[in-house]
Amino acid sequence: MIGIANYSVYVPRRRLRRETIAAAWGAPALPGCKAAVNFDEDSLTMAQSAAWPLVQSGGAEALSFASTTAPYWQRSAASLIAAACDLPARTATADFGASLRSATTALRAALDAVAAGSVRTALVMAADCRDGAPESAEEMLFGDAAAAVSVGSEDLAAELVAMVSRSDDFPDEWRRDTDTHVRSFASKYSLARGYIENVVAVGRALFEQAGVQPDQIARAALTSSDGRAHLAAAKALGIPAARVEDVRAGDIGITGAAMPLFLLAQALDCAKAGDLILAIAYGDGADGFLFRALGGGTRLRADSPTMEYPTYQVYRKLRGYWRTSGGSVEISNVLLRREETQNVRLHGSLCPQCGLLQFPIAKVCVGCHHHGGLIEKPLARHGRLFTFTKDFLYNARVEPTVMAVVDLDGGGRFLCQMTDVDPAAVEIGMEIELVLRRMREGAGDHYYYWKCRPV
């Protein structure tokens, strides 16, 4: 038996109301809001945040990342995330992209790998932060999110019953290598010939392969490019609307490559043991799965409290549209590699004499000055605020920069920026978690390091 063990979702805390966008352009508003990354987040950091609780609960022998908005054309986000999750070098990492069904392509590969016995557990992450062009329908619709599932053969939330894939080079939505925004032929024809045709074909193929009837489907997790078409596809497949997962277009947005796993997590949340879950992701064809819920497994990251972008201008500024990032930090790969264990894997040193856990990695204990034999040890990624300042002098994209000194659980005092926080709410003693974020942009590279945020 193979299937989904645990799963998690990550939604950025920031929200942008659609009427705020509409007001900026003097246009009619769509209802609701969308989730939008903070200035220091991207698909990589969101995927890492989604993956981390799954790694903590059981590790992963393989780790794959799926996105249409990877921060690199050439550099594996999965490999960087593996390091940030402190996974060993033997971890099989892979990056999937190009299609809105890249997450399900990665999921198929993970299920196949576990079925073949080449790995026992595989973790699949999907994240997207697509930037709709200013004043476009996509700008209103697109939201940012990530989700992750772990695939294995023990302690499953749901077992795989059947899977089907279909390839179709139908050009309804694309982004060239030089484009920063999605282009599309948004039309009734595109929906009917592209989305509906592929989703229905894959759904029927799954029913046939598994020998099930549409009325046996308890939950249908169908992706959607507009927040409506999935209901039409469900109707064509004979599944009542009440059993179709809300794609969260209203409060999170159309989440691109993250949506298939996001909806699967949502379906697993409310599935009872024995329920059949249909999951189909559309994009240049479609991937479909039938899972049977087993009642095990858990969602490992709850939705976070939210903060609103006050204005459209602030949203755009932080999205990097009107102001490119400054700074000219260049860091040699000699330093990057030598400090990976402390800066990316977040290891410190444990003193064998006095038992103090400390950061950064040291040869001489900061507490008792014992020399020799300090043991490298991972730091906890959770703790409390010891002291702070709100700095307006540092040239940041959003002021003030909250600098924090934190005491981590089990030891280790750490300095970092605080993010996703209303500066007025910062208080000594508050509970925090460490999150991987993009730092000041370098002249030729992105830099990732840890920040803290209120829990």
Binding site: V329, I331, N343, L356, Q358, F359, P360, V366, G367, F386, T387, F388, T389, K390, D391, F392, L393, Y394, N395, A396, P400, T401, M403, V405, D407, G411, G412, R413, F414, L415, C416, Q417, I428, M439, R440, Y447, Y449
Partner: protein, 392 residues
Amino acid sequence: MPGSIKDQVAIIGVGCTKFGDNFDQSFEDLLVEAGFAAFADARVEPERVEAAWLGTFSPYAGNGKASVSLADALRMYGKPITRVENYCATGTDAFRNAAMAVASGMYDVGLVAGAEKLKDRPVRGLGWENGHPYQHDGLTPPGVFAMAANRYFHRFGHGSGAGREALAKVSVKNHHNGSMNPKAHFQMEVSEEQVLKAPIVAWPFGLFDCCPTTDGAAAAVICRADMARQFRDDYVLVKGLGLAVTSGRPWYDAANEYVGFAATRAASEEAYRMAGVRNPVAEIDLAEVHDCFTWTEITNYEDLGFCGKGEGMHFIGEGRSALSGDLPVNPSGGLKSFGHPIGASGVRMIYEVVTQLRGQAGARQVRDAELGLVHNLGGPGSVACVIVMGRR
């Protein structure tokens, strides 16, 4: 236990430029002005100087790097010159090294110069260019001290913000003193209300809680005490000095209570031991201390032993550090008002204390000043240098 150089070294001449936005002066111009002023004050020919020490913190555009920056400015070639850099304690540590060299008998006459040309640069504030690119990203000099100030206010029950009135009093006092100092960067009074309403730089510090970035240079000529009378009668003697270094990454030390600076405590204990000072608040007549930010002056009162930990707010509140108080602190106007060209500041403090001990400080003169103290604090409170000096 370390030895002592008490009464072995004399300061026979001092010089100081006007501090400020010296846009029309180069780094070398500043050194020439301060250096030759010190030579003239000491009544020595430059050739008499056998060795020199230059304090500069941050070289820029070919100036301030290594000993040649002083050699070329003063055309002092063929002599031993050492450049000293020790964060904001650069100037006092340059003086300390020079004093020990003269006390050793190696040199009869030495020159100490400190200079910094911050206003040639395009950046805002001092920057933190040598910090770790990730680990320290987001740190600024006011931010570093603000984190300590917030913890201090948390610890001593004033809450973050309630202590801002005490901070404002430090700014008001130092601006008042600086208003009487023709060499100060800012020669203007400020009101408590102005200080409290100024834009926040790094909470709890507003603009008037922060020292400015400044151009300037200062210099001192020192010699063996037993030959000082050849140059002048009113020379000043080094009574005691101490330097102490703690972690440059205090935010990673879980034992750090973050309410003051152990470096200042250790350096002052050493200087007091050498000088024979047992009760600093009673024995010291004036102090030039490192008020890079207003809260730093408050913790300095405590760390230098002028009052107990947590009592610094009362020390300023009761006016004890005012010009008319029992221990005037920063009669020059301090870093806050006089300005803070990093490498120059420590030597500038020596210039002020010497001027006060000679009774030449004019409107800001501290009465009957016999024993003065200089205190520099560098990095995130990591490097402290304390010098006690007195009339012969």
